[in-house]
Symmetry: C2
């Protein structure tokens, strides 16, 4: 148990700029000259801080450099619905293009460094750089694809499979960011996981306990260690 702490605490979960989702915008060959005006680098936000309030005009997109964000809407009955968790390299706010208004609140889950991308400048660059055009379309389209997978998860999976899918996808996302370990430090609480998955805190907790009994993983607070990746993938399907 002690070793998990050690391993995980050492993970900072930032991302080298080459792995950033907008790396195509950052690489010198493309943007060397306009970079400074378009991309404001590494603003700092502290845990819980609201970066954007829903219903405010779209001015900028946000790219996570280190830390993590969540986006959520609040329903008329004042319930929160989390729509996504964002890790280093992820771009946030694209869904606001259609209305020019942010539909979601954007909030820091931990102390977070964020790069900001000016909306108008990005639109201009779409017109002048084919690479940028393709990248933006691709990011938008990938977002749709992700929501389709989430819908599939909601629609066809039981609670244990949903949770397994969530943990496995986090594992994959960290892997894509160069963290090859089977350890994951969750940036979000059980309540936030439950909300995102359409379950209750208790169901998430029970399923975590069940997966520990089956020795699929070890969960200790925010730290999760995957003991049996194959079994986890089996649960995912």
């Amino acid at each position: 148990m002690h070793s998990i702490y050690k391993t995980l605490r050492s993970n900072s979960y930032s991302v080298p700029c080459e792995l950033c989702s907008i790396s195509g915008l950052c690489v010198p060959r493309l943007l060397n000259n306009t970079l400074s005006s378009v991309l404001e680098r590494k603003k700092s936000y502290s845990k819980e801080e609201i970066i954007v309030k829903a219903k405010t005009p779209l001015k900028k997109f946000f790219i996570v450099h280190s830390g993590a964000l969540k986006t959520f809407v609040t329903t008329p009955e004042n319930n929160e619905q989390i729509n996504g968790f964002y890790l280093p390299g992820d771009i946030v706010g694209l869904d606001a293009i259609s209305t020019k208004i942010h539909n979601n609140n954007i909030q820091a889950l931990s102390n977070t460094l964020i790069c900001e991308l000016d909306y108008d400048e990005l639109m201009n660059m779409i017109d002048t750089h084919k690479d940028v055009r393709d990248l933006v379309l691709k990011l938008l389209s990938a977002d749709i694809y992700n929501y389709q997978k989430l819908v599939l998860c909601y629609s066809q999976k039981k609670s244990d499979e949903r949770l397994a899918t969530f943990i496995y996808s986090l594992y994959l996302r960290y892997q894509q960011r160069g963290h090859t370990s089977l350890s994951i430090k969750l940036a979000m609480s059980r309540a936030e996981i439950a909300n995102y998955l359409g379950l209750t805190i208790e169901t998430v907790s029970r399923n975590l306990s069940k997966m520990q009994e089956q020795n699929i993983l070890t969960a200790k607070g925010k730290y999760i260690y995957i003991n049996n990746l194959e079994a986890l993938i089996d649960l995912v399907n």
Copy 2:
């Protein structure tokens, strides 16, 4: 009961070109000269016909002129998951931009007329026409927004509320297309509704019966008549 049939059968549910989701592409002021090359008009597909198979390369987008489509993926266990229903004026296939491969199967729910929009040509037009750029970004972004609403529905609503949301959103979509009546002709089966909503056929059927007992609506086969719109909206929340 008999009058419902009469009313509903008279609805053809096609859309005038001005209400099409790509009307911004069609209006003469923008595209008069290039229209013919970009937009191939009104190909006919018969009920059940597969328009695009998943995993095939993205060549065209599809715009429904009359009739209706569904998109779906098939899971490894050979289950179908419906990701969307498309009505006249809707554009289908945008989610394939990121991979250049169609993730979804696209299938006609009834005899359907479809306009095709060439992918490469559309990309070219994005570069030359700001209006087209904005429209495409808006459509993609709106798609994301729709999936977020679907996720909210899955995540926080019980079966009766989900079904009410589905019927009400169909009502709204037909209304936006100029059909102001409280009658709806469903293009899809109960099984398809259930699949889309993450429920079973039986649950959908039971909830329809319940809503009839409460005199919220009358359901007769594919025909639904909304008797009490306020009550339906209450259920939606």
